[in-house]
């Protein structure tokens, strides 16, 4: 026994792609017992029209992490309304891993998300608002600071405000100073808010010198 080199036959033969690669065949493979097969079905479905809705449906009961990641990536690639809504729905999931993974994916779609972000920031669920602020983090959008300021001025939930404040301490300018100062007054009994407000003010002041 020793070192050997690849036998030509060992590679190209076994293909994960078993069923016909048409839409129906692929949809069927999405329910295959083997997760590798499901992953490849997801990959090939991306090339097809109308793939978004079957992928979103699958996402709901897919519990293999690698297939799920594949679907999320595929939805990001498809970027249509159905996929975008599918990704947004994940923010409401009971499953923390799914929520966080969809946040990461949504961060990579600045244009699409930018258009609906204002609605997300008004969502009735405070956790969804926090996630919306998380997504803002990487959104190189001209309105980011404006949105953040309005969050810390108006949102009633302390954690939504704190999350926005964290981000303001990185991207905020002098414009944000009054709102940050007011926030300290709004939550006088929250040491964390005071701490991060002071930190943000210090950073902004240092940055503007």
């Amino acid at each position: 026994m020793a070192f050997i080199k690849k036998q030509q036959s060992s590679t190209e033969t076994e293909d994960e792609r078993q069923a016909p690669r048409d839409f129906e065949g692929l949809c069927e493979e999405l329910n295959h017992a083997d997760s590798q097969v499901r992953r490849w079905a997801v990959r090939d479905l991306v090339e097809m029209p109308n793939a978004s809705s079957v992928l979103v449906d699958r996402l709901e009961h897919e519990n293999n992490v690698s297939v799920r990641t594949g679907i999320l990536n595929a939805l990001a690639q498809l970027r249509d309304t159905v996929s975008l809504n599918g990704l947004i729905e994940c923010l409401r999931s009971e499953d923390a891993a799914l929520r966080n993974e969809s946040i990461e994916i949504l961060k990579e779609l600045p244009d699409e998300v930018g258009a609906i972000l204002e609605n997300l920031l008004k969502d009735s669920d405070s956790d969804v608002r926090i996630f919306a602020v998380n997504i803002l983090e990487s959104l190189r959008h001209e309105n980011v600071e404006k949105w953040l300021i309005s969050v810390i001025e108006k949102d009633s939930h302390v954690n939504v405000c704190s999350t926005a404040l964290d981000l303001l301490s990185e991207v905020g300018s002098e414009q944000a100073i009054p709102a940050i100062k007011k926030l300290k007054v709004r939550f006088p009994d929250e040491p964390y808010v005071c701490f991060s407000a002071d930190l943000a003010l210090k950073r902004i002041e240092e940055g503007s010198q």
Binding site: E94, A96, A97, R99, N100, E101, I103, E104, S126, D127, I130, F131, V158, N159, S162, T163, L165, D166, S169, E190, P191, Y192, V193, F195, S196, L199
Partner: protein, 123 residues
């Protein structure tokens, strides 16, 4: 000196907890998510973990579940810190291996009393 790992994706939160804990005489390390936390926790034996729930790549539940499976590392206690305070979340946290549960934003006194409790430092 007791050694604590603070796991949170928000830099400000890590700094806040670090300040509180260091002022109280603990030494502190930080991790930005569950994977980095595992990488550190598997080579350094911390006395306590302070774990955020929502983090990219590997969340707090995932970290604890994976960490609690490890046989040859010191199974120190963990405090789960999160914005979610629903019962469902608490149950999930305990099932994953958290010892105590705290809601964000934390208050220094409460944090320190939990820390002392879990470290067995209560007089």
């Amino acid at each position: 000196m007791k050694h604590i790992l603070v796991i949170d994706d928000a830099a400000t939160v890590r700094l806040y907890h670090r300040n509180i804990l260091e002022t109280a005489g603990y030494s502190v390390d930080e991790a930005i998510n569950g994977i980095e936390a595992l990488e550190k926790a598997l080579v350094t034996s911390y006395d306590l973990y302070i774990v955020d729930v929502n983090m990219p790549k590997l969340d707090g539940y995932g970290f604890l579940k994976e960490f609690r499976r490890q046989e040859d590392v010191l199974q120190s206690p963990a405090i789960m810190v999160t914005t979610e305070a629903g019962n469902q979340d608490k149950i999930l946290g305990y099932v994953s291996g958290a010892n105590l549960y705290m809601t964000k934003p934390t208050k220094p006194n409460q944090l320190l009393s939990y820390v002392r409790l879990l470290l067995g430092e209560v007089a």
